[in-house]
């Protein structure tokens, strides 16, 4: 067990959130869960939202090990019993007394100093200035390409203008508005099996024409694939990292095509080798694939967000399994937090415990010296993200 509770934390993958005010127990549960269904999800399924169905959904969310741990972490923070209603009472009192101060105490306790925030979720976007004002931590915004694609598709543009506006919007984000990287969630759309040949300008032209004329087929996939290639090119040009969602996520994920291995052909293609690419979530539960890619592709990185905290007690195994092949200096911590600062908090606490455990074992097993393990913890929690996003 390594002692790392005091280390500073850069949360290298999360989402912005605003003060939601006081919350009922049910609303809190709904906000912190990754999945488990919503009223709308069940009603679309033809189920009247009776109190039995409401209870069923709440049960599904409260019965994950992740949720139980969240309650325990917050109970320890507030010094109360790990009972949800007691925790919520104290939480609401703290928010009443001052949201920013409360977030500050949470973040100080967990050591969180910087949030690298994918502004593409939620939609419509959270106002960056308000987020910054409310959260006492550095905020580094990341620009997601899919909302831009949706916005441009909604306008009546020719392909040259579409493409010009795509490039220009990204240039503005990176050069004018302080964004420090791009993000794609193509794994939620048409999947990660993107051929590097998609970067051809003709593919963009032909696919866009097909989409505009409603030809169907795989026109939309070919358009998204083309624009992902373009985003990689722009990341190289502006020297910023590209984050790509890999692995599971909320219920909308394209599950058969979210495996990081589908990106291999794209990322080893000569034209994209110079790009620094973060395989967001390390593709959990396919994280050994992501780790392998970080091993053989010099500029591919893994983050361990989402698995931490939503896979609960998986945290030490996730770190251990990613480090089987990913270099110690190519793994970054993140929470995938959204909606509430308590998510970022419990993720950071869990990650420190898990890193202490996993790296401590590597020392015991004669794989690393204690110094090497401590350096690795620092790199994963903050150092590598600082280098990757040029935070100094």
């Amino acid at each position: 067990m390594l002692e790392i509770a005091e280390l500073p934390v850069v949360d290298a993958h999360c989402h912005p959130f605003l003060n939601p005010g006081e919350l009922s127990v049910e609303a809190f549960v709904d906000l912190v869960a990754l999945g488990g269904g919503s009223q709308r999800f069940m009603e679309e399924g033809g189920l009247a939202f009776t109190s039995a169905v409401r209870t069923e959904l709440q049960r599904v969310k409260r019965d994950t090990v992740y949720f139980r741990r969240l309650v325990r972490d917050l109970a320890a923070f507030f010094g109360v019993e790990p009972e949800l209603d007691q925790v919520l009472e104290r939480r609401n009192a703290a928010v009443r007394a001052g949201y920013r101060g409360y977030v500050g105490r949470l973040f100080r306790d967990a050591g969180i100093v910087t949030l690298i925030a994918d502004m593409g979720y939620p939609q419509p976007p959270v106002d960056l200035a308000t987020f910054r004002r409310e959260v006492p931590a550095g905020v580094v915004p990341i620009f997601r390409i899919e909302p831009l694609i949706a916005r441009l598709l909604a306008e009546d543009l020719g392909w040259p203008e579409f493409r010009r506006r795509f490039d220009e919007s990204i240039a503005n984000a990176l050069q004018r508005d302080g964004y420090r990287g791009l993000k794609s969630v193509i794994a939620y759309r048409t999947g990660l099996d993107v051929s590097p040949l998609s970067r051809s300008p003709d593919q963009g032209l032909m696919a866009y024409d097909g989409v505009k004329r409603g030809l169907g087929g795989d026109a939309m996939k070919r358009l998204r694939d083309h624009l992902l290639c373009r985003a990689l090119e722009l990341c190289i040009e502006y020297d910023v990292p590209m984050q790509i969602h890999t692995g599971v996520g909320d219920v909308e994920i394209n599950l058969p095509y979210c495996r990081p291995s589908y990106l291999m052909e794209l990322l080893r293609f000569p034209a994209f080798r110079a790009c620094r690419v973060v395989l967001v979530h390390s593709g959990y539960p396919y994280h050994r694939e992501a780790a392998y890619m970080a091993h053989v592709l010099p500029r591919v990185y893994c983050d361990v967000s989402e698995g931490i905290p939503f896979a609960g007690h998986a945290a030490p195994a996730l770190i251990r399994e990613v480090l089987e092949m990913a270099p110690l200096s190519k793994v970054v911590y993140g929470s995938d937090g959204f909606a509430l600062p308590e998510l970022n908090y419990t993720a950071a606490k869990l990650a420190k415990q898990a890193l202490g455990l996993a790296l401590g074992q590597l020392v015991e097993e004669g794989m690393l010296s204690k110094t090497e393990a401590e350096e690795a913890a620092w790199l994963i929690l903050a150092g590598t993200a600082r280098r990757l996003y040029r935070l100094d």
Copy 2:
């Protein structure tokens, strides 16, 4: 280490078996193994079944960790050395003295009170009444759709009649004959990549016509896909669970298409969201996929059968990995036992040891309280299956 040896056990996925009488060592080995080949398997491969080949097959089966554990469990039960011949001698003596009494002692020692039995294996079917008479435990039968499909295909029916008889047979099973759920092994046939569009009546008509006229192509797959959708609809109508085999199994499995992730598009489709679906075997070794689906799809459940006991020492890891994302109240224990009661026995013993270990670790790691862990053990061993199959 949680103390749970005394908890009652509902074996939520297994198969019926009749008293095989006394057994030679070789026959016993052949009966309890999941795989490892048979005389017929080798002879089809052009190998004369010499005594060397016979020895080779026996070795493959006896050299699994699962088999070694089975012998140790039975040796402890009989109070003899863990030597196969000593165990068999005592077993045969116990069977001679009274099969039902012997099964009763096994089940009492392991706490087994109820068997939820997929009657579709073996074929031809075991007589349910005889099984019930021979086994001193509650027996809850489950109706497998593939033998029904085979039976109806063998008759010369038009599609309307085929379809009527399909529905009627299921209605009879569920309403008249006491079956409590349906089961599909489409993962052994055409695979789990079933589009929800397959529920269209026209797909059934067109596919059935193609099968009957010998058109080949994917007619049989489209027919099976359609009938799986119909089975889901009937499960909703009669309010019973649908069991779907996922993951590996015996040598006939459709390995590339047995991953639970292929079911995602089907199970999140609005028309099927109301159905309670058990991902049988949690898709081992793809159980993290199944667990994710149980996390984001409110009515999808995992069982941990087959992995327990056939993956031997995997049991604690399997439970731990499934619980990373599956809610504590959406995982059920099962053995996948068949042929011999000793299988149900060793699986239950192993599961209790593994649950005690895995849940005990979660307490040590600060993920759950001891009370939460004990409640989870009860839910997994019996509580959730009781609720799901309305055993009260």
Copy 3:
């Protein structure tokens, strides 16, 4: 923890290497790394090979847990601090004093007595006689089919002559030149999804014609698939094992199609059931698939090379996870070592520690007796390979 440090080791999968002489620190790092990129890889990616890029590549390679462990193992061997420059200094001195003696001391310390060497890597081939002279261990060569295919394709042959020469070259290797098995790396080419129907002579003829006439399409895949089937037939005829690469490897791997599960249909086909097949690397990180195949297919074996040592601390988990389903007598140790004897050394040291740990746990968990665990260690380290390759 089982005491097995003194057991003899057959390295059942590795590659030949010649004395490279003294090495700079950078050259040593480049030689022992599995991946992480090369000057050429980066330059093809449009990156000038500045000193910053050179440093970046070295960092990627030195920051794997595997590399750190290698340094620690060698430091212990030489009795110096685990500092790379100190280790290299001693290593170079030892090589200067006599390469063969140095290799002998390494191998004696690790217990390595035999190397089963896939002579197909590196290319052009290492001279077998020189390798044998330089290395004080038994060398058992394995014949890789892909260099033969490349050589025959480069000549202007008709199909009957191509096919005759293919068979003849393999016959010569196995009957005249002392090779003890075949090897395929089709997972690096067209992938493992090989239909057993590919063995049809007409498929060979048609595919070869397509390749020769430059028809493109899948002609090359169909040719490779056909020749893999032919290799399996020849292995049956000459009664030698077939090694098939599965799972990840260097950066050229066909990642989406390297999963062992794609081989299932081929290997259970009656015509190939008699062939002893080693799933090289157990398909890491898909090793649970390989283990399942070793469970249900009587003549399919797993080796644990590459994962050991390149996945570092994965070694105990890899062994444990493979043994979940693979019989104890169907798993063989290997290193995938190449280029330097230090690789074979660290792999063997790591494997013994990992086996001691993993098998020791199985004893503690009541899965195996101590005697069974010790026998399993011996089988994995040497016994099964001795039987499989008829080393007695």
